[in-house]
């Protein structure tokens, strides 16, 4: 990772982010200063799990066929978390629908990605003030933790060419319940803009976003969020 310092990433490099979708989604789902979550844990887990699958889709490693996650290619993956998910997909006997993968990955996705962000210098682990609570992660630099919001804003600007990764980030953020939070920083009609922008994504990513939203809504409706 370029621009890393002992205590985190240095200014300009940090604002560019890690280049990984799930990392940006994790940062979007947590307060840029305190690290407090904007989402219920299960919704955050499903959203970040969607982010991990989207990373593999964007790299051409996996695809969706009739709603099922399938191996699409064997691209070299630098990141350990992505390699771990890829190993799971490739090693699984039989294929599973995207909803099952989201449920499965959501159990550990948020912690895995937080650990990855800690390794990259974006998060630091601090002890909770309450002794019975586990350690929590807080952003090292509030500006770099807030930068994903700017990337979403840029992706929704019709006058700029939008990167598919940032559009997918906006779609997944809305799917797991962050649209009201994002609306604070985006122009009026942000929700509609996100829907329009994600409509231009490749079909597999659109489908993954829809499955993520369905999983979050289903958890909400079944009293499990």
């Amino acid at each position: 990772m370029q621009g890393m310092s002992r205590h985190g990433v240095s200014g300009r490099a940090a604002l560019g982010g890690t280049g990984r979708l799930a990392d940006d989604l994790y940062l979007l789902a947590h307060h840029e200063v305190t690290g407090r979550p904007h989402l219920q844990p299960r919704a955050a887990g499903l959203g970040v799990a969607g982010g991990l699958l989207a990373e593999l889709m964007l790299s051409g490693s996996i695809g969706l066929h009739a709603g099922q996650v399938v191996v699409a290619g064997r691209c070299p993956l630098e990141d350990a978390a992505a390699r771990s998910v890829m190993r799971l997909v490739a090693g699984e006997r039989g294929q599973h629908v995207a909803g099952d993968w989201l449920q499965f990955l959501s159990r550990t996705a948020a912690d895995d990605v937080a650990f990855r962000l800690e390794q990259s210098g974006y998060l630091a682990r601090v002890a909770s003030r309450r002794p019975w609570r586990a350690q929590r992660w807080v952003p090292v630099d509030p500006e770099s933790a807030f930068a994903p919001v700017l990337r979403v804003k840029l992706a929704l600007d019709p006058s700029q060419p939008a990167a598919a990764q940032n559009v997918a980030l906006a779609g997944l953020a809305a799917a797991c319940g962050l649209s009201r939070h994002l609306a604070l920083y985006l122009p009026d009609g942000a929700y509609r803009h996100i829907q329009q922008a994600t409509g231009c994504l490749q079909p597999a990513l659109r489908e993954l976003i829809a499955h993520t939203q369905a999983a979050v809504d289903a958890a909400l409706l079944s009293h499990r969020v």
Binding site: H96, F104, Y191, A215, H223
Partner: protein
């Protein structure tokens, strides 16, 4: 058998991991019973029903309706295995009778559960006022306590706080223990020293004419509301073929035994038909008095309040989930299907809070009687709405399996649902034609036709809206009944979207 095929038959690590997280029968059963709030029915509904209808056959009605609902549940849990969003009646009706009927059913369900929720404030207010006056010397009108409960439920709804499973579990166990203790004590001290079984006899159902069965059936169905909730957890269940059916049948059996026994104990303790006069004099005290006036009675009175509050919060959550799902499907305005911070569906929750506030204020200003005219009238009307939905769902189950048995036996897909549909439809007709008896008002009074007619009005509105969606917004129409899965509705096979 080769090593490869044996390995393929073993569940994968992912399947095993997901199965570990899923819910077994005890968890689903507990979820269902916690929403039933047994003391609300035992101390609130049953004495009010004796007092208002003037009928003594309530114990027999609980048993007969449990059998009818067992027929219903046979097809209901079978269809649960084949559809998404199986936690809502309108999803069954949309798949079995078409999406236009699904919209009508969704609005009927929304109105029914809203009646049930708002009605609970009518019991909480006066009973909290009585307890406050007796123990704390605080004297205030019933509506002040009802508004207090409303405010707390509104805040909890906005904070997305369900009373935790552990708290509900403790309350549920305490409520059932108190009901059993009161029942046993009441049966040990029957009026005249002779235990009568008359109110348990099927003859008691038609003691004042055949139509009274419809009235008693509505009261019984009101007691069972909540048993239909098990399929809400279908996607979370460890084994959909076994977990949901077992939990549903166990819940039905337990509710039937507890309610039939406690209502029988009240009749036996008061003495046959004298139970009606006793209920009119004592109200919820009909239950509390079974065990004398000691600690048991006092515990029952406090638990009655917590039970009413928990039920009001549970129905509040049930109503906003309906509003939210319909907003997600774009059947209601999409803004109702959005969430704010922490995944809180603020608009849906506030909509129900606004409805409840309007009703409490209306009753307070008009000076209408809360226990009878708010709790019992709106509660039984909510129960009547659920009865209509049960009948429509039974017909929908038959239609759903009519062209494709989907591997279900004739008993589950045809015979049991047909029996349920015939019996439930008959009960709906009987209840509608004897609604004045149900409410305890003279025939022809405004409430006796206006309350049941509200369902006809909203059903017609739903049918019209469904037809408009069909022609003007086919994308929305295709997602009706899919709930959370409406967003992936376009991804389902075309064969599943034929209606």
């Amino acid at each position: 058998m080769s090593r490869t095929s044996a390995a393929q038959r073993r569940p994968s690590s992912m399947s095993r991991a997901l199965a570990r997280d899923r819910l077994g029968v005890p968890a689903v059963l507990f979820f269902v019973l916690a929403g039933v709030a047994p003391l609300t029915v035992a101390a609130g509904v049953i004495p009010s029903a004796y007092a208002t209808t003037g009928l003594a056959g309530i114990p027999a009605a609980f048993i007969v309706i449990a059998v009818v609902l067992a027929f219903f549940a046979t097809g209901y849990v079978a269809m649960t295995r084949h559809i998404t969003n199986s936690g809502a009646f309108y999803a069954f009706i949309a798949r079995g009778l078409g999406r236009t009927m699904g919209v009508a059913a969704a609005l009927v369900a929304l109105l029914s559960y809203s009646f049930l929720q708002v009605g609970l404030y009518g019991a909480f207010g006066p009973n909290a006022a009585a307890e406050a006056a007796a123990h704390f010397g605080v004297h205030a009108a019933w509506w002040a306590f009802a508004l207090g409960a409303w405010a707390v439920i509104t805040i909890l709804g906005l904070l997305r706080v369900d009373i935790t499973g552990k708290v509900l579990g403790v309350l549920l166990c305490a409520e059932i223990s108190v009901i059993i203790a009161e029942t046993v004590t009441g049966l040990l001290h029957p009026a005249g020293g002779q235990l009568s079984f008359a109110t348990l006899s099927p003859a008691a159902l038609t003691s004042a004419g055949f139509g009274t069965f419809g009235v008693l059936a509505v009261v019984a169905v009101l007691g069972f509301v909540g048993f239909e909730q098990a399929p809400v957890l279908a996607e979370e269940a460890r084994n959909t073929r076994r977990t949901i059916p077992i939990a549903t049948y166990l819940a039905l059996g337990m509710i039937a035994v507890v309610y039939a026994a406690v209502s029988w104990a009240m009749a036996a303790h008061a003495g046959g038909t004298r139970v009606v006069a006793a209920a009119q004099q004592q109200g919820p005290g009909l239950l509390f008095g079974l065990g004398g006036s000691g600690v048991l009675s006092q515990a029952a009175q406090w638990l009655f309040l917590t039970s009413l509050f928990a039920a009001a919060l549970a129905f509040h959550n049930c109503v906003w989930r309906y509003i939210f799902a319909l907003g997600r499907e774009n059947v209601l305005p999409a803004a109702l299907g959005r969430t704010g911070g922490n995944n809180i569906p603020q608009a849906a929750s506030l909509t129900q809070s606004a409805t409840a506030l309007a009703v409490i204020v209306l009753y307070a200003v008009a000076g209408w009687q809360p226990m009878t005219q708010l709790f019992f009238w709106l509660g039984t009307t909510g129960g009547f709405g659920v009865l209509i939905l049960l009948a429509l769902t039974a017909i929908a189950i038959i239609m759903f399996f009519a062209h494709d048995s989907r591997g279900e036996s004739a008993w589950r897909r045809l015979i049991a649902p047909t029996l349920a549909a015939a019996l439930l439809t008959g009960i709906v007709i009987l209840a509608a034609t004897h609604y004045s008896t149900l409410l305890g008002v003279p025939p022809g009074s405004t409430a006796a036709w206006a309350l049941p007619a509200s369902y006809a009005l909203i059903a017609i509105t739903g049918l019209a809206w469904g037809l408009i969606l069909r022609t003007r917004r086919p994308g929305t129409y295709a997602g009706i009944g899919l709930g959370a899965h409406a967003v992936t509705g376009q991804l389902t096979p075309a064969s599943d979207r034929s209606r």
